[in-house]
Symmetry: C2
C-alpha cells in the first residue's frame, strides 16, 4: 500500500483550508491573531522548555554561538512574537480590495479584486520566531501556510505551531490553515519544492545557501529574498560629512543584515579629501577595509580588494572601497556586481542623482540616505515577510499586499462574442 | 578553448541592451515600431520565400494540416503582423508610471515607479507571428527579448527577426534589444531555462506540452499561460434561452482556444427542461457530448464521461456535461478539475452569483456572459502576450503592464537609521 507523505498530506489539507480562508472575514482572522497571542503568552513556559531541548542538541552538535543565539528563546523574545501578532492584527486586510473597475463597450463590467495567493510554503532555518511571524502574515492575507523550519529548531517549532494553530482553530479559522512540516529531513524540503499541486508560492527565508537551493530546485514559483550586496556611491558634489555619517550607519549600525552596505564607491575628485577621515571613522568602528589600488596609494596599510570582494555580501564589519571616475562607472560597477537590493548615491547634483536612480537596477535606490531603510516597517508597510531581489511579482520589502494575487469578476447580461 | 554558446552570448548582449532600453524614450520606441512595420511590408516577399522553405520541410516531415496552417504566411498574415505593431505603438508607455508616493515621518520620500522586467525570454512553437508580436510587446514595455521559436518555423523566424531588428537599430533602439536563438536544438531551449544570469522571466507560448516542460524545467522565473479547462454552470434560476446561447458561443465560436468551455454543469432542478433543447443545438453545431449517468438517463445516445474527461481541455468540439446538486457542488467541481482560467455562472440569483465569484479560484469569473471574453483585447488592454493561469506576478490576460516590475526611489537629506 502506498503511504501518503507528510508533505502531500499537509499539502492537500492546506489547499482545502485555503479555499475557505480566502473567504474568511477580517473579524475571524483578527480574532485568531488575538487568540494566538494569548496562547503564546499562556504557553511561554512550555515553549521555552521545548526550546531548551533544541539548544542542548545544538550545543552537542557544535552549532556556532551566533546560531545558538538565533535559536534561543526567552520571555522577551516570546513577547516580541506577541507584539508581532498584534502589529499584524492592526494592519488593514488587503483581501477584497477593488484594484480597478472598467465598463466595456459591450456592457461587460470588469472588476479586478485582490485575492490571496492560496497556499504559501515557507522554508526557513533556525529562527523559531519566523514560525509565528510567517503564520501571522499569511493568515492576515488570507493564505494557508505550510511551514518548513530547520531541524535545529524543530522542538521549538512544534511547540509554537501547536500553540498558534490550536488558538486559530478556536477562533473558527479553517482547520489546517497553519501547518508545520515536522519531518526535517532534506527530502521534505525538496518535496515541498516540487509540490506544484498544493503550493502556490514558496518563500525561502534564510541565508544565501538556502535561498539559492530553493531558487534552483523549486518547481513551485518562488521569491528570491534577502541577498544584499549593497553600495554607497560618493559623488563628487557630496556633502562629505553627511556622506561619512551615512556610510558609517549603512555599514556599522547592523552589519549582519541584507540592507547594510558592502562596498563604497568614491569619485576620484573627492577621494583625497574623503578617504582619511572616512577610514579613521571606519577603523574606529572596527571595520576592515579592502581597497583597490587607488585606495592603497592613499593608505598602504589597507588590504588590496580582490575581484571576489566586489561580489561578496560580507554581512560583517568588512567593507570594500573603490575609486571610480564618475557616476557612469559607479552605475556600471553596481549593476555588474550588486544583487539588485539597495544602493545609495550621496550627492548635491540633481542630475547625477536622477541618472543614478534611473539607471541602477535595484529594488531601492536612495539619494542622500542610508540603505538601512529598505525594510517593510521603515517603508510603512507595518510588517514584512522578506525583501525580494527579483523583479517578478514583488520587488523590495514584501508586506501583506505582496502576499496577494488578484482575479477578475465580470458581470454581463447575456454577452456572447462575435 | 571554451566557446561561448549562442544562448550565453545573446543573453549577455540582451542584458546590456536591457539596461539601455529601460531608459529609452517612448518616442524612440514608437519610432522603432513604425520602422519595423515598414520593414515587414518592404520585405514581405523575402519573408514569404523563407516561409515556403519551412513549409516544404514541414510537408516532407509530415506535419499535420493544422500545424502547416499555423506555420504558413501570406500577404494577409504579414499585414496582420503590421497591424499588430501599429496597435502596440498606439498603446501608452507603461514605463515610468508613478504607482505610489509616500512621505515617511523621518522625511524620506518614497516613490514607487514602474520599470521593465529586463530581459524576457519567449519560448514558442511554429507560429511565426509570435516573433513579431512578442518583440513588439517587449520593446514597448522596455524589455529586451530573446526569442526561441520552434525548428519548424526557423527560416521564417530568421527572416522576420532580421527584418525587425535591423529596423529597430535604425530607429536608434539599443542594439540587440530583439534577438532570435537560431539554433533550435532542444539544448538551446533548456539552456535558456537555466539562464538566470541573463533572463529575468521566461514566458512559454504554445500548447500544454511546451508549457509544462518550461514550468517544470525552468530555473528562470516563468509564467504559466494558456491552459484553459473552462466551465459554464447553469444555476437553477438561469434564463435558459440565454444560457443556451452563451454555452453555444463559449463552446463553438472558436473551440480551439483556451477560453472556450470544456464542461457544462447543470443544476438538477433545470436539467429536465434544459437538456434536450441544449443538446439539439450542440449536436447541430457538431459537438460531441460526453455526459455523466444523469445525462445518459435523459439521452442514452450520449457517451458516458470518464474521470479523465472532467480534466481535459479538449480544444475541439467535444463537451463534457454533468448534473450537479447546486452551486456548492459546481464550485467544488470547478476548483477540483479546472485550470483556474475562466468560468461562468448563468443565473438570476444574485446570491448564487456572488458565492460563485467569491469561491471560484480562477483568473476570470463571469456572471451571465461567455468565457470567450478572457482576452487582452476584450479586457481593453489593447494587446496580450498570453493568459496567465498562475497567481504569482500576473493573472489572466497579460498586457503591457504585466510585462513590468517596479522599483522604489527614495530621497533623503542625510537620514540614517537609529
Amino acid at each position: 500500500m502506498m503511504t501518503t507523505s507528510e508533505v502531500t498530506q499537509k499539502g492537500q489539507l492546506a489547499k482545502q483550508a485555503a479555499q475557505k480562508l480566502a473567504i474568511t472575514s477580517t473579524r475571524v482572522k483578527n480574532d485568531a491573531l488575538t487568540r494566538m497571542a494569548d496562547a503564546l503568552d499562556k504557553n511561554a513556559k512550555a515553549i521555552i522548555t521545548a526550546n531548551s531541548i533544541d539548544l542542548e542538541a545544538g550545543e552537542k552538535k557544535g552549532l556556532s554561538k551566533a546560531l545558538l543565539d538565533r535559536l534561543s528563546l526567552d520571555g522577551k523574545r516570546i513577547n516580541g512574537m506577541i507584539e508581532g501578532l498584534n502589529t499584524v492584527k492592526a494592519l488593514s486586510d488587503p483581501i477584497g480590495e477593488v484594484l480597478s473597475t472598467t465598463k466595456r463597450p459591450n456592457g461587460l463590467r470588469i472588476k479586478k479584486i485582490r485575492v490571496p495567493l492560496g497556499v504559501i510554503g515557507i522554508i526557513y532555518e533556525a529562527r523559531p520566531n519566523v514560525t509565528v511571524d510567517s503564520a501571522a502574515l499569511c493568515l492576515k492575507s488570507g493564505n494557508a501556510c505550510i511551514l518548513r523550519g530547520g531541524s535545529d529548531a524543530i522542538q521549538s517549532n512544534i511547540a509554537i505551531a501547536k500553540t498558534i494553530s490550536e488558538a486559530a482553530d478556536q477562533a473558527g479559522l479553517p482547520k489546517n490553515s497553519i501547518q508545520l512540516i515536522e519531518d526535517t529531513n532534506r527530502e521534505t524540503a525538496e518535496e515541498l519544492m516540487k509540490a506544484r499541486e498544493y503550493v502556490d508560492i514558496l518563500i525561502p527565508r534564510g541565508g544565501r545557501g538556502l535561498i539559492q537551493t530553493v531558487v534552483q530546485k523549486s518547481q513551485v514559483p518562488t521569491i528570491e529574498t534577502g541577498e544584499g550586496n549593497c553600495h554607497a556611491y560618493v559623488e563628487k558634489s557630496a556633502d562629505l560629512n553627511k556622506a561619512i555619517e551615512i556610510i558609517i550607519n549603512a555599514k556599522c549600525q547592523r552589519p549582519s543584515v541584507c540592507n547594510a552596505i558592502e562596498t563604497v564607491l568614491i569619485d576620484h575628485e573627492v577621494v583625497a579629501k574623503l578617504a582619511l577621515p572616512l577610514f579613521k571613522r571606519l577603523k574606529e568602528a572596527g571595520v576592515e577595509i579592502r581597497g583597490d589600488s587607488e585606495i592603497k596609494k592613499i593608505d598602504d596599510s589597507i588590504k588590496l580588494a580582490t575581484e571576489e570582494d566586489w561580489k561578496t555580501e560580507f554581512l560583517s564589519l568588512t567593507l570594500a572601497v573603490k575609486v571610480v571616475a564618475g557616476v557612469d562607472e559607479a552605475i556600471a560597477h553596481i549593476n555588474k556586481y550588486g544583487t539588485h537590493h539597495s544602493e545609495t548615491i550621496l550627492t548635491k547634483d540633481k542630475k547625477a542623482a536622477a541618472k543614478f536612480q534611473a539607471e541602477i537596477d535595484s529594488a531601492a535606490v536612495y539619494v542622500n540616505a542610508s540603505t538601512r531603510f529598505t525594510d517593510g516597517f521603515e517603508f510603512g508597510f507595518g510588517a514584512e515577510i522578506g525583501i525580494s531581489t527579483q523583479k517578478l511579482h514583488a520587488r523590495g520589502p514584501m508586506g501583506l499586499s505582496e502576499l496577494t494575487s488578484y482575479k477578475y469578476l465580470i458581470e454581463g447580461n447575456g454577452q456572447i462574442r462575435d
